[in-house]
């Protein structure tokens, strides 16, 4: 296992290197950072000077190397927009994003899994059909649209829930801020996590349903029933577990996506997280944030996929052969 992890770590390095390289080729196409950093009346000479100082005139490979050497020392530079070290900015934004991701993943799993099982077992039931259709309509509308509709309903019309922000946050430890401990913080989580989790919920639900339909027709489920096991055991321990490989694959990917790319939801709800910052960075061509962010995301995905691969081994003993 340690060897496996070490190999993955090495691969992660390579992945991050490639990501950084790609990112650097790409930044040329995102726009000109200088325009976003100075007022429109700033003279051309000053723009040129700034560009020179930022090293933007250096050839791409030079910029890339500089970035990599610094990144290797955990120095990701200073944000063009905020004029603060990128790492500090990240540290401030990460709690918000993780809490939102956690809440929406929880929503997706807690609703998606039982509904998926139910729909898989009761293929013809009206409730499952209704649920499947409604969730589909939910995902066929764009995220921003859903977000705005929810805000319109729950904030403007009913005035139950806040329309933006994290509510009141409490400092926990030296740098973590949490919204879980205040009422307004919890209220503020509801709408964005539903908006964000809707797609994953639908996906997980339909995936489980589809897999359940197949698994419940296998011989071992038949035999489990013949042994008189209660439905709970048959459905969850035997049937569900056998559907899990694709489900955890997708859950892992989606979890990564909601942590890394909750951009639209965070924008709609002005959620002060990483996604919002990333979108702003793209809009404002904030290269240091973008590159550090992409590196972080790359690492996140390698890590998540590593965990998923480990989970495969836990779930399915047949996959353990030949693996250290």
């Amino acid at each position: 296992m340690i060897g496996f992890a070490a190999r993955r770590l090495l691969q992660a390095m390579i992945v991050m290197l490639v990501v950084a390289l790609l990112a650097f080729t790409m930044f040329r196409f995102v726009g000109d950072p200088i325009n976003q950093m100075v007022g429109i009346e700033t003279s051309l000479e000053e723009r040129e000077a700034l560009r020179e100082r930022l090293g933007l005139n250096d050839p791409i490979p030079v910029q890339f190397l500089r970035f990599i050497t610094q990144a290797a020392q955990f120095d990701f530079g200073t944000s063009y927009q905020f004029r603060q070290p990128v790492s500090e900015l990240f540290a401030k934004r990460i709690p918000a994003t993780l809490e939102l991701s956690f809440a929406s993943a929880l929503f997706a799993l807690v609703v998606g899994i039982p509904m998926g099982i139910y729909a898989g077992l009761n293929r013809e039931s009206a409730i499952s059909k209704l649920f499947l259709s409604v969730s589909l309509i939910g995902i066929s509308l764009p995220t921003f649209f859903i977000g705005i509709l929810l805000i319109f309903l729950f904030s403007v019309t009913l005035q139950w829930l806040p329309s933006f922000g994290r509510g009141e946050v409490v400092q926990v430890g030296s740098w973590w801020t949490t919204g879980f401990l205040t009422l307004s913080g919890l209220k503020a989580l509801i709408l964005p996590s539903i908006t964000l989790g809707l797609y994953q919920m639908t996906l997980i639900m339909r995936l489980i349903r589809a897999e359940m339909l197949e698994v419940i027709r296998t011989d071992y489920i038949k035999f489990a029933r013949a042994r008189g096991l209660p439905d709970r055991l048959v459905n969850f321990r035997h049937a569900l577990k056998n559907t899990l490989v694709p489900v955890i694959t997708i859950t892992g990917l989606q979890l990564g996506a909601i942590i890394a790319f909750a951009t639209i939801t965070e924008t709609v709800f002005q959620w002060p997280g990483m996604g919002l910052m990333f979108l702003q960075a793209v809009q404002n061509v904030d290269i240091p944030i973008m590159s550090a962010y992409l590196l972080l995301t790359a690492f996140l995905f390698v890590a998540i996929n590593f965990i998923v691969d480990i989970l495969y081994f836990f779930i399915d003993p047949r996959l353990r052969v030949g693996r250290p």
Binding site: D32, M37, E41, A49, G77, V156, Q159, S163, Q280, Q283
Partner: protein
């Protein structure tokens, strides 16, 4: 009282010289002050300078206000002014033009400062309402003399903390998330506001911003989309404040290249022909744009500056909307069947920018000009059409507010000749060149007689109008959403000053 408000953009760095951008300067103007300030009607008022006089055309004397303290308690003196002048002109500052590079500062005594200029400049202090004075000691002590620049690798104290003389202190600031202001009890002026704290949150999404106002979570939001004005007015407890803004929206055309980019006309540039430009001009139904796109929240304009900023603006009139005349002009110019042209347009910069472009494209289609519209976010848009992108455009939409609120700024930035690299008028993206306008611009700069000066400005604008070098569209409107219990002043420069606010 607490005022909670939101703006579409964020307040990033707190260093008053690091970004020459309206919202940043507007926000910091509640904390910092300049030697002058502008009142509700944008008239120049004394602020940290009690009065000033022009001793000779090249020597200005400012008498500073006594007894003013910075938020940290240190006194405001002439040294601070001299320090600020140096700092604002130093490398990394984005406001270097506030004080001419060749001007010298002479400290006469603790409360008197002289500015010695190389050449006369009647509008020297026009932009000083946003040239904020910093505390020399504080800045030096905190090692923040160098202007916070984007190329810095360590954070600058001044970028994260503020120490001004203004009516509000910044008590906490998280860039892009939240900024909290607190009342400055030791402010030198009599407070007309009744606020204790002000909370600012950036909200990027228009709909969310409006929703937050409608739901009563916020007291004030700006800007609001024009289409939501009615909704906000209909809502009990909120009202939309609208008014004219100073920004002029206009269309520019490539008149420099010998062959138009993104066009099916090869080997020549139709836009060099004034008839073609006039045809474009006359094909645009500005009233329809005003009514349908802007929902009446715009003022069609015949010149490139807001009528508020130029006394003779009333002398100009737009060419009438006339499709037939436009077609005739095109035919005359040799394009009876029209041609195709690529158009660049931002989609997140000005009020309904993309919708305006689409409407223009549809209108030009009626005179057989096929427009390929390329609407992009501002980062990509500006990177393409400005000097850094090699002025890669044939037809574009742009907006301009003269920072000094004076026409010379417009002429020198937009209407003088330029070369390929942008030397000259850097924002004359179309690159037209009219010697007469250039020479007028030079004269205007040094002319101290207002009457004569205005005459020359009018002449320059007339040349532009006659040749249709630009197609001015309108001054866009301001729209702020305010809760009924809040009273405030909406200034035409779109700056929001807390000192005008009362909440009950």
């Amino acid at each position: 009282e607490t005022l909670k408000f939101a703006f579409q953009g964020a307040l990033n760095a707190l260093d008053p010289y690091s970004l020459n951008e309206t919202f940043t300067l507007s926000s910091l103007g509640n904390t910092y002050e300049g030697l002058t300030r502008r009142g509700a009607d944008l008239s120049i008022e004394p602020a940290l300078a009690e009065s000033w006089e022009v001793l000779e055309p090249t020597r200005w004397r400012f008498h500073l206000r006594k007894g003013v303290k910075f938020h940290n308690g240190s006194d405001f003196t002439a040294e601070d002014v001299a320090f600020s002048v140096d700092r604002v002109r130093s490398e990394g500052s984005d406001l270097t033009t506030r004080v001419p590079a060749d001007a010298k500062v002479e400290v006469v005594d603790d409360y008197t400062v002289d500015f010695v200029l190389a050449s006369p400049n009647p509008i020297l202090h026009y932009e000083w309402d946003t040239f904020y004075i910093m505390d020399k000691e504080w800045t030096t002590e905190n090692d923040a003399v160098k202007v916070t620049s984007a190329s810095d690798t360590t954070p600058n104290y001044a970028a994260l903390h503020a120490n001004g003389t203004g009516p509000f202190k910044i008590s906490s600031h998280e860039a892009g998330v939240k900024t909290v202001y607190e009342k400055n009890d030791g402010w030198w002026d009599e407070a007309k506001h009744n606020l204790d704290t002000v909370e600012f949150t950036p909200i990027g999404s228009d709909a969310t911003r409006v929703a937050a106002l409608l739901s009563g979570e916020l007291d004030m939001v700006y800007p609001i989309p024009v289409q939501d004005i009615k909704r906000i007015n209909d809502n009990a407890g909120t009202v939309a404040l609208t008014g004219p803004e100073l920004r002029t929206i206009f269309l520019g055309m490539d008149q420099m290249r010998d062959e138009l980019l993104y066009s099916d006309v090869k080997g020549k540039n139709p836009m060099k022909d004034a008839r073609v430009r006039k045809a474009f001009y006359q094909a645009i139904d500005i009233e329809a744009i005003k009514k349908k796109v802007m929902r009446d929240l715009s003022t069609p304009s015949a010149i490139m500056i807001s009528p508020f900023l130029f006394s003779k603006a009333g002398e100009f009139e737009r060419y009438p909307y006339d499709t037939e005349a436009a077609k005739a002009l095109l035919a005359e110019a040799g394009y009876p069947d029209g041609f195709s042209i690529g158009m660049d347009c931002p989609n997140d910069r000005y009020v309904n920018d993309e919708a305006i472009c689409q409407a223009v494209a549809a209108m030009l289609a009626r005179i057989n000009v096929k427009v390929d519209l390329n609407a992009q976010p501002k980062a990509k848009y500006f990177a393409k059409i400005l000097a850094s992108g090699g002025y890669d455009t044939s037809f574009y939409l742009l907006g301009w507010t003269p920072g000094s609120l004076d026409s010379w700024n417009v002429l020198s930035n937009l209407m003088n000749c330029r070369d390929e690299s942008g030397a000259g008028s850097p924002f004359n993206n179309g690159g037209f060149c009219d010697e007469k306008i250039d020479s007028l611009t030079k004269e205007i700069l040094v002319e101290n007689d207002p009457e004569k000066r205005d005459g020359m400005i009018a002449e320059a604008f007339k040349i532009s109008h006659d040749n249709a070098y630009y197609i001015p569209l309108h001054q866009q409107g301001l729209a702020w959403g305010v809760a009924d219990n809040v009273d405030l002043v909406q200034r035409a420069d779109n700056q929001f000053k807390f000192r005008f606010v009362t909440k009950n």
